[in-house]
């Protein structure tokens, strides 16, 4: 299959707001994403996975290296890419329908046909009955559906998702994950899209992905690549299967190894003291612990 997205020797970073120093968030990253593939990047908070996603979206400039979409270097945002934001980020003065039409309107592609497509998307996302309501009248889950519908309305070839369900409660999250799979598979108006999904939730990764990429703590590299061989459509049975849990364990194990490797003195790790061995490392380690704890808790709940 042809490659949709390619990264070679990719370096990304940002200038610290207070220090003014340059921090590398992604170092020498190599990865390929095939057409129509659903790739999930898992990593601890602050590992650089979101920075990578934002670079693909064109929000963060490439420091050095190659980041190509269909063979063309990414230099900024483009209509062939859409981002589903972590916060719903809907415009409060626009109705739900008008929010979903936003991208088309900005790109001057608002036609009767694209409008009908957006209407269909709202129906598929279960928002048909609230099309004329305002975002503040919606629940958190519904706002995220609108966020997703807005991204799909411009009919992108590459759909980027930045932890879109992390702010939802556990029940809503499961519901939305299933919805996302359903929408991604059932979007008849346009072909199945390439999707790049970033999360720190291991179960979410195994549920959604064709392929999971585990990122190491900052600066990010691909620590493990895991192909999830499970037929679609995936359902609740798959979510509870032994295979599913085994995949999850493999990822968790890798995250643990990475965390240990990036801790200068592993034995002192149980102590949450303020004398961190190296500046920066302390915060990342505690993030790692929090993530692992959260993921393990979810894992045991699924059993």
């Amino acid at each position: 299959m042809a490659d949709c997205l390619t990264a070679r020797d990719l370096n990304l970073g940002h200038v610290g707001r207070r220090s003014g120093g340059f921090t590398l968030a992604v170092e020498n990253l190599h990865l390929d994403i095939a057409e129509h593939e659903f790739v999930v990047i898992v990593g601890p908070s602050g590992c650089g996975k979101t920075t990578f996603l934002e670079a693909v979206a064109g929000l963060v400039p490439v420091t050095s290296g190659t980041l190509e979409l269909h063979g063309k270097q990414i230099k900024g945002p483009g209509p062939e890419r859409s981002l589903v934001f972590q916060q719903a980020s809907l415009y409060p003065w626009r109705t739900v329908l008008s929010n979903v039409l936003f991208g088309l309107q900005m790109q001057g592609r608002l036609t009767a046909k694209s409008r009908a497509h957006a209407r269909d998307l709202l129906e598929v996302a279960g928002l048909g009955h609230v099309a004329d309501k305002y975002p503040h009248e919606l629940s958190g889950g519904m706002r995220q559906r609108a966020n997703l519908a807005r991204a799909l309305a411009t009919d992108p070839t590459l759909l980027l998702l930045d932890e879109p369900f992390s702010a939802l409660d556990a029940q809503n999250r499961e519901l939305l994950q299933d919805e996302l799979l359903r929408i991604w598979q059932a979007d008849e108006v346009s072909a199945k899209k390439t999707a790049l999904f970033v999360t720190h939730d291991v179960n979410e990764a195994v549920l959604l992905a064709d392929r999971v990429l585990v990122f190491s703590p900052s600066p990010a590299k691909v620590a493990l690549e895991l192909r999830i061989d499970a037929p679609r459509p995936r359902d609740a049975v798959w979510r509870r299967s032994a295979e599913f849990l085994a995949y999850g364990d493999t990822i968790l194990e890798q995250l643990r190894i990475e965390a240990l490797r990036h801790t200068p003195t592993p034995l002192a790790r149980t102590h949450d003291d303020s004398d961190a061995p190296a500046p920066g490392a302390h915060g990342e380690v505690s993030d790692q612990e929090r993530d692992d704890a959260g993921a393990v808790r979810l894992g045991s709940a699924a059993q």
């Binding site: 979206a57 064109g58 929000l59 945002p77 483009g78 209509p79 890419r81 859409s82 981002l83 934001f85 916060q87 980020s89 415009y91 409060p92 003065w93 626009r94 936003f102 991208g103 309107q105 900005m106 790109q107 305002y134 975002p135 503040h136 411009t154």
Partner: protein, 245 residues
């Protein structure tokens, strides 16, 4: 309701003071005499000319204030270099009482309508610009990120995001601009007019017709309340989403 009662108490005391001869009605008028004078002014049609003149100035003055002030505020808020360059000037112009510039404005633009409209714009536009600039600078970063991802062109950013997102600030600025613009209009008329409500009140007072002067003031208050009410109506209609994010 309480505000209405308070106003009523003042009117009653005023009327009583005038009725018992505590104050001389020649100088202080009374509510009843004011109402009678007002009715007379409308009956003879004497009031229409000054009212029309003031309304005409306000229409032009505030119209220009909004047409210039809103885009200037939006642009200054969006581009940091422009904002940093103009901020001291705007602050100085806002802090110095514009009345100081009246003689110069008269010197430059003469004694007719142009000068009065300029005074109104001068009085009203600065608080409007300052308010809108602050609003754009406080724009939610989520709004701009969404706009960037969906490739929003620069002009569409202003009309589709900056303008609606800062509408609460714009309307607050408009309320300030209307208030200050009204003061500007009256001050300009006191200084340099042969017509308008300000001139009318001054003229009547110099002729010891305090009843008519008071009626003019009441009319002016009514105009101010009307303008304020109109802005509040627009606020309620278009910013219902604000605060309920």
């Amino acid at each position: 309701m309480l505000g209405l009662a308070g106003g009523l108490v003042v009117l009653v005391i005023w009327q009583a003071a005038a009725g018992f001869g505590l104050v001389d009605v020649t100088f202080s008028s009374s509510p009843i005499r004011t109402v009678r004078a007002g009715a007379h002014l409308f009956a003879t049609g004497e009031i229409w000319s000054p009212l029309g003149a003031t309304g005409y100035e306000l229409l032009w003055g505030l119209g220009i204030t909004f047409l210039l002030g809103i885009p200037i505020g939006l642009v200054l808020g969006r581009y940091k270099v422009l904002h940093d360059m103009t901020e001291p000037i705007v602050n100085v112009l806002y802090s110095v009482p514009y009345v100081m510039f009246l003689p110069i404005i008269i010197f430059w633009f003469g004694l007719d309508n142009v000068s009065r409209v300029i005074v109104i714009v001068w009085a009203g536009i600065l608080p409007l610009i300052i308010n809108i600039t602050a609003g754009v600078r406080n724009l939610d970063t989520d709004y701009t990120r969404v706009a960037t991802v969906f490739c929003t062109p620069r002009l569409k950013f202003f009309t589709n995001i900056a303008l609606p997102a800062t509408l609460p600030y714009i309307l607050a600025g408009i309320r300030l601009a209307v208030g200050r613009g009204l003061v500007g209009a009256i001050v300009a008329e006191l200084f340099l007019a042969s017509n308008g409500l300000g001139y009318f009140v001054q003229n009547k007072t110099s002729n010891f017709d305090v009843d008519s002067a008071m009626a003019g003031i009441v009319l002016l208050a009514a105009v101010a309340l009307l303008l304020n009410w109109a802005v509040r109506l627009i606020e309620r209609r278009f910013t219902h989403w604000a605060g309920a994010k």
